[in-house]
């Protein structure tokens, strides 16, 4: 009896210590998970709809997106990050295509891959109107290529 109780109490102590270590490890994982990001936010306002011209898309360099505005269809936001290896693509007015400077991928103005190593079309992001009348792009919410936001003038 003596030995049994001695061992089982010890084992229980050891067990709860192990549980503590396990919980600590989980806590450490959570500790290492960033709570805030020191980088441009994923969801951001880009300004008043009236600031954006019709015609060729507007490039926002910090956010790495192109904003399209069309009289009939409205606003759309395309990622400027090449789906191949992450370089920033450039829109050329001459052929209305996106060209990647790194490995020569070419995308159509709707984001479809026309040429080169890019495996996927360019990503499109949700664009919404905030309650104070500004445009907001949310990179956490990818949308289909045809997504458009119509803003009443």
């Amino acid at each position: 009896m003596k030995r049994r109780s001695f061992l089982s109490w010890g084992a229980a102590g050891f067990g709860s210590l192990c549980a503590g270590v396990g919980v600590s490890l989980a806590a450490v994982l959570r500790f290492l998970t960033p709570s805030v990001f020191y980088e441009p936010p994923q969801s951001f306002k880009i300004g008043d709809p009236a600031d954006f011209p019709y015609g060729p898309p507007t490039f926002l360099a910090d956010e790495k997106i192109y904003i399209f505005r069309d009289r009939e269809k409205g606003f759309a936001a395309a990622s400027a990050v090449c789906t191949h290896l992450g370089c920033t693509v450039k829109f050329f007015q001459t052929d209305h295509h996106f060209h990647c400077p790194c490995h020569g991928s070419i995308y159509a103005s709707d984001g479809k891959v026309l040429h080169g190593p890019a495996p996927k079309p360019l990503q499109w992001f949700e664009i919404t109107l905030t309650r104070d009348g500004q445009l907001r792009v949310n990179k956490d919410r990818p949308v289909a290529a045809g997504y458009r936001l119509m803003v009443k003038a």
Binding site: K2, R3, F6, L7, L17, A27, R30, F31, L32, V36
Partner: protein, 428 residues
């Protein structure tokens, strides 16, 4: 065929712990535990003799290493980012404030415990032959602990940190000839700035901890080689050992006979050499009463570990580590104080820079190192060493009183202000 048992045995590689062989092998075959002897003298485990202060100091160091590594993930050693990281730990990082609290309080605890451990070793006379050199290593470990705490003090880069390090390094610069040089080397400049921060950071996270680990290993190894855990030999009565309680064990087994008869003894001398040993034999005598390290020593150590961790966690849950305004070299707080453990020195420096900054600290370190060699009295019985105990007690009390005066009784302009009197800073 029991694969689970096979698996377990391939890991543990020992007999069950219910057998003496298993208890032995647990220690002997385990790289983490084999710093312990298989069997220890029960008097060395008495709480009222060692107070487990050495263990507690070591466990606090373990707490500091773990929390310190975690904090390094969120620390950039550059003035403004460093301070902002402290705020992030407090306000956004999950458990960040708690870990910083643990690190800070454990660091203070370690300074206190290492000092108390030294006092205990002195009072029990445990530094005496053959342990003289281990005492010297202990003094070096004390200095390393102070160095670690001091270098860590700067890292939050707040007013408290900045001015404590400014004052602290200036105390050191009173040393003749080399003082100013050493300060320049330490700070990478003539005042505390971004250069000093990166230097203190490297010392704090790499240089000093490595040295501390290295010397701790030597310290433990020497305890083992110098006769094991300290025990109150002067109280031992030859027969008392035989009356020790046997816990959790069945009635006395014919263990001794079994050991004696063991045919597969695996140890042996490499070689027999001639010559007399410098020190007397310190391994337990054949007829001395000993108990197995498992469970007697291990459970006690485990309890010391958990008590240490629980205390640090409880303190950290309720008291936040201090964080003042961001360091501002243009604005000196009044009074500017060194870290608390140097306030005794600052108190002396306020009377005489040469005395407090050079002579006293140098003499104290020299005297501490010299204790085992100067004290020629072979007896460890307190009644036989009244003078030694008196002198050391005076040293300890003066030390504590000076620190208390410096911490609680010094106000603006280093004037004597009791803590219960509230002084507002003078008009600008």
């Amino acid at each position: 065929m029991n694969p689970i048992r096979d698996l377990w045995q391939s890991i543990s590689r020992r007999d069950p712990l219910s057998t003496d062989k298993g208890k032995s092998e647990l220690v002997f075959l385990n790289v983490w535990l084999h710093i312990h002897p298989n069997k220890v003298r029960p008097e060395g485990l008495k709480v009222k003799h060692t107070w487990y202060l050495g263990f507690i100091t070591f466990f606090l160091f373990l707490v500091l290493v773990t929390t310190g590594i975690a904090l390094m993930f969120y620390y950039r050693p550059y003035p403004q980012p460093a301070y902002q990281d402290m705020k992030d730990l407090q306000f956004v990082v999950f458990m960040g404030g708690f870990l910083r609290n643990m690190h800070r309080w454990a660091a203070h605890g370690m300074v206190i415990c290492v000092f108390l451990h030294m006092c205990r070793v002195f009072y029990t006379g445990s530094y005496k032959r053959p342990r003289q050199f281990n005492w010297v290593i202990g003094v070096v470990l004390l200095l390393l602990t102070l160095g670690l705490s001091f270098t860590g003090y700067l890292l939050p880069w707040d007013q408290l940190a900045f001015w404590a390090i400014t004052v602290g390094t200036n105390i050191g610069s009173y040393a003749p000839l080399v003082g100013a040089r050493v300060r320049e080397l330490l700070l990478g400049g003539h005042m505390v700035g971004e250069e000093a921060l990166i230097r203190f950071y490297v010392l704090h996270v790499a240089v000093l901890p490595s040295l501390l680990v290295l010397l701790t290993m030597v310290h433990f190894w020497r305890i083992r080689k110098d006769g094991g855990l300290s025990r109150p030999v002067w109280k031992l009565k030859p027969q008392k050992a035989a009356n020790l309680v046997h816990i959790g064990e069945p009635e006395p087994e014919p263990a001794l006979a079994a050991v004696a008869a063991a045919p597969d003894k695996t140890y042996g001398l490499m070689e027999v050499v001639t010559g007399r040993p410098i020190f007397e034999t310190v391994a337990p005598e054949e007829d001395e009463e000993t108990v197995f390290s498992y469970p007697y020593a291990f459970f006690r150590e485990g309890i010391a570990l958990v008590v240490t961790v629980v205390t640090v966690m409880a303190v950290s849950l309720f008291w936040n580590a201090p964080l003042e305004e961001m360091a501002n070299p243009a604005k000196t707080p009044n009074p500017a104080k060194a870290p608390w453990y140097f306030l005794g020195l600052q108190e002396l420096v306020s009377h005489s820079a040469l005395f407090g900054g050079v002579i006293v600290p140098a003499l104290v370190v020299l005297a501490l190192v010299g204790i085992p060699y100067l004290d020629s009295n072979p007896s460890r019985r307190p009644a036989d060493r009244k003078w030694a105990i008196w002198i050391f007690t005076v040293f300890v009390i003066v030390n504590i009183v000076l620190i208390i005066v410096g911490t609680f009784f010094r106000g603006p302009g280093w004037s004597f202000v009791p803590p219960w009197v509230h002084v507002t800073a003078g008009a600008e």
